[in-house]
């Protein structure tokens, strides 16, 4: 490969010029392959950025290496396309965190510069894969979230196919008697009005009595099979909103409270039905219910309900107390609860009910619901353990209502899964906590593991009508966004706009399938030869497949095993000096690398032995590059990545966890070379660790020093 014509620009600003010799760095650069132009400036981010542009044009530079500040800043100034840009961090990682005018510091800067030039030589400009895209949005489920999603996408200018399993749109709204309204009041649910507003939109097509038999493809080119009353049809869509809602906890679960046994014990859903029908009459004898016990069935001791009941259960209990009191001023309500979950302004409903003299709030755990009273005056006796006063309370009621929690459809047994994805990784939407189709991130609630499919409403979180509608609108935004990004060949969150995608040197692929298993987003399918096929619009460009491949046939144009190996190979490994250790560091670009930058911003001293290679995710580090490094003679390798496990912080879900598993291979190499395991360590690092890192990394270097230099140097 002919060397790529490259310009090297060493900035002297922000203390770099005082810390290292820029003249010596230019000399280093001039000796590297392909380097045609070298320059210094007191600040390349200001007027002198124009000089780089001029050089690109006049000299026909293909690549530019800017040795200045962190790649985290000045990104638009140094966006010099069509030239490829590689940033070398001489500011945060050298000038601001190393001893000035020191031989070891100069060696560090020299290495970093050569690493940058090597990386630039092993980068090709990424080219987007652009294919025709369908922009239609499929919304599955026509409850409040689905209706909101459909209307939002339509008003945003997109065609929508709205699919509803039942004969009518409206979802659970059709079963509600009243909804919550401002000022702690209740209002009728205008479900017909809401549905009409959606269906009146010329861009919305509704298919009722229809389920989704399968979804295959990728953003911009999904094919969904709809199974309706007139048979199956396929529809091409750009993206999918999954708004399949919830099922109430099964009545059988509340058998201990008499639900299903005693006709006057009813569920919260049946309470809505009763009140919607008209007068509140006891199912057993048709007499008006004057004393109603509402059991929230909440709190940790209640095992009938879900462990997470959320605020909807509390709010429904309060609402149903209001139903009773509004229709009969003489009626009495006993509300037995353990946790009144009315956060925020839901509090105002709680207060309104507290102030109602006809509602008796009993904080406690229900122990028994039993029939009581004589024939002709049958009623129920509820015994609750009062957890405030630590005694039993007995209540007599005509009607008992138990509050059912909401089970997301994504947590229902297989087969009832609403989308039936035809993905190699399985048909179900990956779920997070408690079976919700949620991404497990606070900051990015639509960071789905199935790109282009966004959940909304009660399949996403347990939430009320208003919040479900907001969730639906939000999911619609993500649905139209992914279509636009797919149409221009760009990645979506978190590497938004990234063009390059993984390419496979298929002649060397062993069809082991590991990449297809490890991809957190299920982007890879298998062809007839069991070779991987990339769905570029599902791909989020994390590089985990590249890290997974045991024969290293997966690469991005601008990020590859070859590139990282090339960077590693240009680092000087002094053979004659036991003191001059070299530690290779792979640092997650989103967390560990900024933490190192912030160490510099705080002018904390980092060990001068470190040579940092930023990586997209620790999961993109192939075991072979680590093994090569120790074989070549690096004294140690530190892998800085995010927390794994249930509270994982990896934005690619399991990158650091997967790397951890690959470490077995690395340990095998170390064993074969008779090197100590401690030379290669995964160090969990968060972005808040700027102050901790100097100590942690210093300790690592000292540990290596204790082991002595790597004897493999020079072999």
């Amino acid at each position: 490969m002919a060397a790529r014509k490259t310009g090297v620009y060493v900035c002297e600003g922000c203390g770099i010029g005082e810390c290292v010799s820029s003249a010596a760095l230019l000399e280093t650069a001039a000796g590297e392959p392909g380097v045609a132009v070298t320059r210094t400036s007191r600040a390349f981010c200001l007027e002198d950025s124009a000089r780089i542009r001029e050089d690109i044009e006049s000299e026909g530079l293909e690549a530019v290496v800017i040795a200045a500040c962190s790649p985290r800043v000045n990104r638009q100034v140094f966006d010099l396309r069509p030239a490829m840009v590689r940033r070398v961090n001489l500011r945060e990682h050298v000038a601001w965190s190393q001893a000035p005018r020191d031989e070891a510091t100069q060696e560090l800067a020299d290495d970093l510069l050569r690493m940058g030039i090597a990386a630039a030589q092993h980068t090709t400009p990424p080219v987007a894969r652009i294919e025709d895209c369908e922009r239609r949005v499929l919304v599955v489920g026509a409850g409040p979230a689905g209706l909101s999603a459909a209307l939002s996408a339509a008003e945003g200018g997109y065609a929508v196919t709205l699919v509803e399993r039942e004969a009518q749109a409206g979802g659970f709204l059709r079963r509600l008697h009243r909804g919550w309204a401002p000022h702690a009041s209740l209002e009728p649910v205008d479900v017909d009005g809401l549905v009409a507003r959606v269906l009146d939109h010329p861009s919305v097509t509704l298919r009722t009595g229809t389920t989704v038999g399968g979804v295959e493809g990728q953003p911009g080119r999904f094919v969904a099979t709809l199974e309706g009353p007139d048979g199956a049809e396929t529809v091409e869509v750009g993206s999918v909103v999954m708004a399949t809602g919830f099922e109430p906890v099964a009545a059988a679960s509340f058998a201990a409270y008499g639900l299903g046994e005693n006709p006057d014990v009813i569920s919260s859903v049946e309470m809505e039905d009763l009140c919607r029908a008209g007068e509140l009459l006891r199912p057993s004898d048709g007499r008006p219910a004057r004393r109603v016990a509402i059991l929230a069935c909440d709190g940790p001791a209640d095992t009938a309900n879900l462990p997470y009941t959320g605020n909807v259960t509390s709010m429904t209990a309060l609402k149903q107390a209001m139903y009773v009191r509004e229709r009969d001023p003489e009626a009495e309500v006993y509300l037995v609860y353990e946790d009144m979950q009315t956060p925020g302004r839901d509090e105002l409903y709680y207060r309104r009910v507290q102030e109602d003299h006809g509602v008796f709030l009993v904080r406690g755990q229900v122990r028994a619901v039993e029939p009581a009273g004589m024939n002709g005056d049958a009623h129920l006796r509820v015994t609750a353990q009062n957890t405030v006063l630590a005694g039993d309370v007995t209540l007599e009621a005509d009607l008992v209502v138990v509050q059912q929690g909401m089970v997301p459809t994504s947590a229902l047994p297989a087969g009832s899964g609403a989308l039936s994805l035809r993905y190699l990784q399985g048909g179900a939407m990956p779920t997070g906590r408690a079976g919700f189709a949620d991404s497990n991130f606070l900051c990015f609630p639509y960071e789905t593991r199935r790109t282009g499919i966004y959940s909304a409403g009660c399949v996403h979180r347990a939430q009320d009508i208003g919040q479900s509608r907001r969730d639906g609108a939000a999911a619609a935004l993500k649905a139209i966004q992914v279509v636009e990004k797919a149409a221009s060949g760009q990645a979506v969150h978190p590497r938004v706009g990234e063009l390059g995608y993984p390419q496979f040197l298929m002649s060397r692929c062993t069809a082991c399938g590991r990449c297809t298993q490890e991809c957190p987003f299920g982007a890879l399918e298998l062809d007839a030869q069991r070779h991987p096929v990339i769905n570029t619009n599902r791909c989020r460009r994390c590089g985990i497949c590249m890290g997974a491949c045991p024969v290293q046939v997966i690469s991005f144009p601008d990020y590859s095993v070859e590139q990282i190996s090339a960077m590693q190979k240009v680092i000087s490994l002094p053979e004659d000096d036991e003191e001059r250790l070299r530690v290779l560091v792979f640092a997650c670009e989103n967390d560990a690398y900024p933490a190192l930058d912030m160490a510099g911003i705080n002018r904390l001293r980092l060990p001068v032995e470190l040579r940092v290679v930023p990586v997209r995710c620790l999961g993109s580090v192939n075991a072979v590059v680590v093994a090569d490094a120790v074989q070549r003679g690096f004294d140690g390798v530190a892998l800085l990545g995010c927390r794994s496990g249930p509270d994982y912080q990896c934005h690619f879900i399991q990158g650091s966890e997967l790397l951890g598993r690959r470490m077995d291979n690395v340990r095998e190499t170390l064993g074969r070379l008779a090197l100590e395991e401690e030379r290669v360590q995964v160090l969990e690092t968060s972005i808040a660790d700027a102050r901790r890192l100097p100590g942690v990394l210093g300790g690592f270097v000292e540990q290596i020093r204790g082991l002595g230099a790597n004897p493999m140097k020079g072999f």
């Binding site: 600003g13 922000c14 007191r42 200001l46 500040c69 800043v73 990104r75 638009q76 100034v77 939002s152 008003e155 945003g156 507003r197 009146d200 939109h201 010329p202 997470y308 009941t309 959320g310 946790d339 009144m340 979950q341 009315t342 956060p343 925020g344 302004r345 509090e347 405030v388 408690a434 919700f436 991130f441 606070l442 900051c443 990015f444 609630p445 979180r461 919040q467 509608r469 907001r470 969730d471 609108a473 939000a474 935004l477 139209i480 966004q481 636009e484 979506v492 969150h493 978190p494 938004v496 706009g497 989103n590 900024p594 912030m598 911003i601 995010c642 509270d647 972005i687 700027a690 102050r691």
Partner: protein, 445 residues
């Protein structure tokens, strides 16, 4: 007169016509709304009052329930902003007025001088020569910075600012000479910017309720009574103590802490609503206390613990810790032992036996969220009786996201913001298509 503040996520908003969206407030809701709209193809103006983005979340040590640092998500968002030319960011900017209606708003902005231009390289030379300290509002006054300062280590934009309230200006001007890049302009003047936009999203967030107003809880009287937001800064590695949890009076490690819930919330005299996040925030802070001071005892005084949905598992984990003691009861008084600086929390224990007295090193008041606009309304934005923004009927008109709408957690604020972005796009496109703002086009009969 200097030009309007420019940042690296530079303005590239075509024509400033009614096809753009204005997002007011650069906290987590505003950043999210701006980015989501921009990544779906809109031009966006994002305005923020402070010199940096991030709002209240940037000041938090950790998020519940994962105990992850907010900077992690903000970093991703800042990279999205850095790479996105469709978002025009204006910091040190407030909205003076909004007029017009859905699809066609006229907005008047006031840009306060930052005194540092976009030539700033973040080199720190100005701060090195600056002779005057200022109280650091980012640390709620628990630390100081120089008057020429970087808002914080992860600040976006990564640019210094000069505090007009403490700067000596021409009397000193040392920073002007020290700056090798000519980035300091002490004569910068306020500017008025007028915009036309199709939709407005209010994401102005919240401020901590003033704890001094709750007279029985000793805030302002004893240095060892702090608020929950101050606790976040103390627990943050970037905060005034480097993440050590200590007594403000003498810097000694804290052996016992009392969290007082509903300090101002659910109280007719203060905030009548529940502030929604304080129970979880205190339980999170309790975890941080135990992480930093493993032998500490933690007492949580509460009325109800509001930990809805899947947060229940997180709450149960913290409450199950043997050194965490939850007491259901209202705190009547906080007394200071003048000899030791210790505090005695007097509470009406509703489950145990009457009044309890608990001796602790530190009291943390779980002060609630007051909407930022509540005492500083913007012309053209309707507020309800609690100071939250009233959203137009069926979300048409002025849109609202995050704690400007209601007291919410981050997970809800980001959903809200994404929804507001969708509604803004719908509003702009509907108006552009000639439909009136409020009524969708009907199908042909």
């Amino acid at each position: 007169m200097s030009s309007v503040a420019k940042v690296e996520a530079g303005p590239d908003v075509s024509g400033s016509g009614h096809d753009a969206v204005l997002v007011v407030g650069g906290g987590i809701a505003g950043i999210t709304a701006a980015l989501e709209a921009a990544e779906a193809g809109m031009s966006v103006h994002l305005v923020e009052r402070a010199p940096q983005l991030g709002g209240r979340v940037a000041q938090l040590a950790r998020y519940f329930p994962k105990l992850c640092p907010p900077t992690c998500g903000l970093e991703i968002n800042y990279q999205r902003l850095r790479d996105n030319r469709a978002v025009r960011l204006l910091t040190t900017t407030e909205v003076e007025s909004i007029s017009g209606g859905p699809g066609a708003y006229a907005v008047r902005l006031r840009v306060e001088p930052r005194f540092v231009t976009d030539r700033c390289t973040m080199c720190n030379a100005c701060a090195e020569v600056c002779p005057v300290d200022r109280p650091n509002a980012f640390d709620y006054g628990m630390s100081t910075t120089r008057t020429a300062y970087l808002p914080h280590e992860a600040a976006y934009p990564a640019r210094y600012a000069i505090d007009a309230s403490t700067c000596l200006f021409d009397e000193c001007a040392k920073c002007v000479d020290a700056c090798a890049y000519g980035a300091i302009d002490l004569h910068m003047q306020p500017e008025i910017v007028e915009l036309r936009v199709g939709a407005v999203i209010i994401a102005t967030g919240w401020r901590p309720y003033d704890a001094r107003a709750i007279t029985n809880l000793a805030f302002g009287h004893s240095p060892n009574v702090i608020t929950n937001v101050m606790m976040e800064r103390m627990a943050a590695e970037s905060g005034p103590t480097g993440g050590r949890i200590v007594r403000p009076s003498d810097g000694a490690p804290v052996r016992s802490v009392a969290f007082i819930q509903c300090a101002g919330s659910r109280d007719r005299l203060h905030l009548r609503y529940c502030s929604s996040i304080c129970c979880l925030a205190s339980l999170k802070e309790a975890s941080l206390v135990l992480d930093r001071n493993p032998d500490a005892q933690v007492h949580v005084f509460y009325i109800d613990l509001r930990t809805p949905g899947t947060y229940e598992a997180f709450a149960a984990g913290v409450l199950g810790h043997p050194q965490v003691h939850a007491v259901k009861g209202k705190v009547a008084d906080i007394l200071e032992d003048p000899g030791t600086g210790e505090l005695v929390v007097v509470a009406d224990d509703m489950v145990g036996a009457g009044m309890s007295r608990t001796r602790v090193d530190l009291v943390v008041l779980a002060t609630g969220m007051a909407p930022s606009l509540g005492d500083a309304p913007t012309a053209g934005v309707d507020l309800d009786e609690d100071g939250f923004v009233v959203e137009g009927t069926d979300a048409e008109g002025i849109l609202v996201a995050g704690c400007a709408r209601a007291p919410v957690d981050v997970a809800t604020a980001t959903v809200d913001a994404t929804a507001a972005a969708m509604r803004a796009i719908a509003l702009v496109r509907r108006s552009a298509a000639g439909g009136s703002g409020g009524v969708p086009r009907r199908k042909e009969a």
